[in-house]
């Protein structure tokens, strides 16, 4: 009986030992299966078709071109590789302005043939209509159905997930937004983090250290929404005033908030590494006539470099993944960032802001999971490099 219990508990414990590995596998599986679905979607909304006059030499259009045409940024076919002919955009509701209601029939039963007629008559037309209405495609050129190319997503510079007829899922603006904000955050946090950890581990008396330590812990414990709230109420208006900005919500506001949030991680790890620098090395340095500061920067810091680096990298990880605070203060403009003083948008903020409105299972929803996959791999990479850095020391 006793033996069976021992065995049972052992198996139970073993099973829970693998729980984290199991969860990571699950995360990868679920994120991937949703995220990869994005590439099965077509560049044109499901159930619709883009039709051209058969005399139009254009055969294919990229999602970006389609968006340009329907936003009326592209107004002539020669800009899309065709002949010099103005583009005439035709949506379903244009039907009503082109044909009187009686011609369409009381149940709109003639809508299909009228659409066809409109396409046949106008050489410059591009019609975005439901497939069900355009069953007879004789003498009409339809843009071939194409799934969303991986390149357009990973190297695309435009993020318009709700544009019709063809949404754009270029992640570059979000990726660079994330990197910009994190980069500046670390740039701010680094000098503070280093100095505070040097002060705590090397200079401060035990008494002061015992005051600083809980302060750093508390900074680590404050919820990110509180930071975001503080940033929104204090830092954003302050920056707006200081730099005379049209809006204070900016990359810099995000960086400052993130710097405060990443600081405890950096300080805790770096301070720990410095305190672990062997006493014998410090004594050797002092015994040669070096003073305290020389000992710190010539011996203590170099010998705890791997720990300090780990701390900084972990801080970057925290900054890259932070959601709420960034969402609240960066202004969330999904454009390629050109200045840290302008609004920009990060990957986590995009997920948080858009997932609520994205219908489950559709392209937009899947694109947000793809962002999750990318975020997952960035942080995985960061964690593995920390692992590598600290294992190298031993």
């Amino acid at each position: 009986m006793k033996k069976i219990l021992e065995k049972f508990v052992k198996y139970l414990l073993t099973a829970s030992g693998f729980i984290t590995s199991f969860i990571i596998l699950l995360i990868i599986f679920f994120l991937f299966s949703e995220g990869a679905g994005l590439f099965k979607n077509h560049i044109i909304d499901d159930g619709y078709v883009l039709a051209l006059n058969k005399n139009n030499p254009v055969n294919t259009l990229s999602a970006k071109q389609v968006k340009g045409i329907f936003d009326e940024d592209i107004t002539n076919w020669k800009e899309a590789g065709g002949k010099n002919e103005p583009i005439q955009v035709f949506r379903l509701n244009d039907l009503l302005s082109m044909y009187p209601e009686e011609e369409l029939g009381s149940e709109y039963e003639h809508a299909g043939s009228k659409i066809k007629e409109a396409i046949l008559q106008n050489e410059g037309i591009i019609a975005f209509v439901p497939k069900s209405l355009l069953t007879d495609t004789e003498n009409i050129k339809t843009i071939p159905d194409q799934t969303i190319p991986v390149k357009d997503v990973l190297a695309g510079t435009e993020w318009f997930p709700t544009a019709t007829p063809s949404p754009l899922f270029g992640i570059l603006p979000l990726l660079s937004g994330t990197l910009w904000v994190s980069f500046f955050a670390i740039l701010i946090a680094l000098p503070f983090g280093l100095c505070v950890s040097i002060y705590m581990s090397e200079i401060a008396s035990d008494k002061i250290r015992n005051i600083l330590k809980p302060i750093i812990e508390l900074l680590n414990g404050i919820p990110s929404v509180v930071y975001g709230f503080f940033g929104l109420i204090v830092i954003v208006p302050f920056l707006q005033e200081l730099f005379n900005l049209p809006v204070g919500e900016s990359g810099l506001a995000g960086s400052i908030v993130l710097a405060i949030m990443a600081l405890p991680t950096i300080v805790t790890v770096a301070e720990d590494a410095m305190r672990n620098c062997p006493r014998s090395l410090r004594e050797a340095s002092l015994a040669l006539g070096a003073n305290k500061w020389q000992t710190i920067y010539k011996v203590v810091i170099p010998s705890s470099m791997s720990g300090i680096t780990s701390g900084v990298v972990l801080g970057i990880g925290r900054a890259v993944g932070e959601t709420m605070a960034v969402l609240m203060v960066t202004g969330n403009a999904a454009v390629m960032p050109t200045s840290i003083l302008e609004p920009l948008r990060t990957i986590p903020a995009t997920i948080a802001a858009e997932l609520g409105e994205a219908p489950t299972g559709e392209a937009h929803y899947q694109s947000l999971f793809l962002l999750g996959v990318i975020l997952f791999f960035i942080t995985l990479f960061i964690n593995l490099s920390v692992e590598y850095i600290s294992s190298r020391k031993k």
Binding site: L286, L288, G289
Partner: protein, 250 residues
């Protein structure tokens, strides 16, 4: 003539009375060995000469220690200047995680010498002086951690000698080493004594008798006996010394 003069030294760790009224003179360019059982205060006393005990909180010193006639615990003394004059080699080899070359150059650099030619000349000389040059001359840029324990300890001696101290303190420098490395260190001590005054703490009585001119026996924070090494080991005055060197306790 005396280079170190300790006068009525009392030392406390908190309330623990670690050194009790010790007075001692050490002559220039001699080797003095401190022996005694663990916890007798010999290392503590040694570490007073370069004020290494300053690093330990809640310690207190009474009495005076004069080096070259100057009270090293006086108000105007700059500790880092003092430590440049009084070098130290520790129980375990503790090279920096830097190259062999940088280890020896460290003391020169922190004391303001910038001319690379001077530094290089000095590094070579110090390594030669520590009988290490032949073994490391082709790998000066390699990490000091690539050396064996005995080599590392000789590197630490070279490092200490590079700033040309007047006094070299050695805190059980061979206790972590094998017999061959130990004999090399002992040989080195006999060589170095031409240049510096050496104070060595050791557990090993044969070592004390082999290398030192004078020996001090410490017991329970007191200096029981101090005299010429030959006398201490052949004809000690105190019974405690006799008991210790014949191995009856300790």
């Amino acid at each position: 003539m005396e280079i170190i003069k300790a006068q009525n030294v009392n030392f406390y760790y908190g309330s623990f009375h670690a050194l009790k009224n010790i007075s001692m003179d050490i002559e220039e360019k001699s080797v003095v060995a401190f022996i005694g059982p663990s916890g007798c205060g010999k290392s503590t006393f040694l570490r007073l000469f370069n004020r290494m005990n300053d690093l330990i909180p809640k310690t207190r010193l009474e009495g005076q220690i004069l080096i070259n006639g100057q009270n090293i615990y006086g108000k105007n003394v700059q500790v880092d200047q003092l430590r440049k004059e009084v070098g130290m080699v520790f129980q375990r080899p503790n090279p920096f995680p830097k190259s062999i070359y940088e280890n020896v150059a460290y003391g020169l650099k922190v004391n303001g010498i910038k001319d690379p030619n001077v530094i290089e000349e000095r590094v070579v000389e110090s390594l030669k002086g520590a009988a290490l040059w032949e073994e490391v001359k082709d790998k000066l840029k390699k990490s000091a951690y690539a050396l064996s324990g005995g080599q590392q300890q000789r590197l630490c001696i070279a490092r200490a000698m590079a700033v040309s101290p007047q006094i070299l303190l050695m805190d059980e420098p061979a206790s972590a080493l094998d017999p061959i490395s130990t004999s090399k260190i002992e040989e080195l001590i006999r060589e170095l004594k031409k240049q510096v005054t050496i104070v060595i703490v050791t557990h090993n009585m044969q070592q004390a008798s082999r290398v030192s001119d004078r020996t001090a026996f410490f017991y329970m924070g007191e200096m029981v006996e101090y005299g010429r090494t030959k006398d201490i080991f052949t004809n000690p005055e105190k019974e405690a010394t006799q008991n210790y060197i014949t191995g009856r306790f300790g």
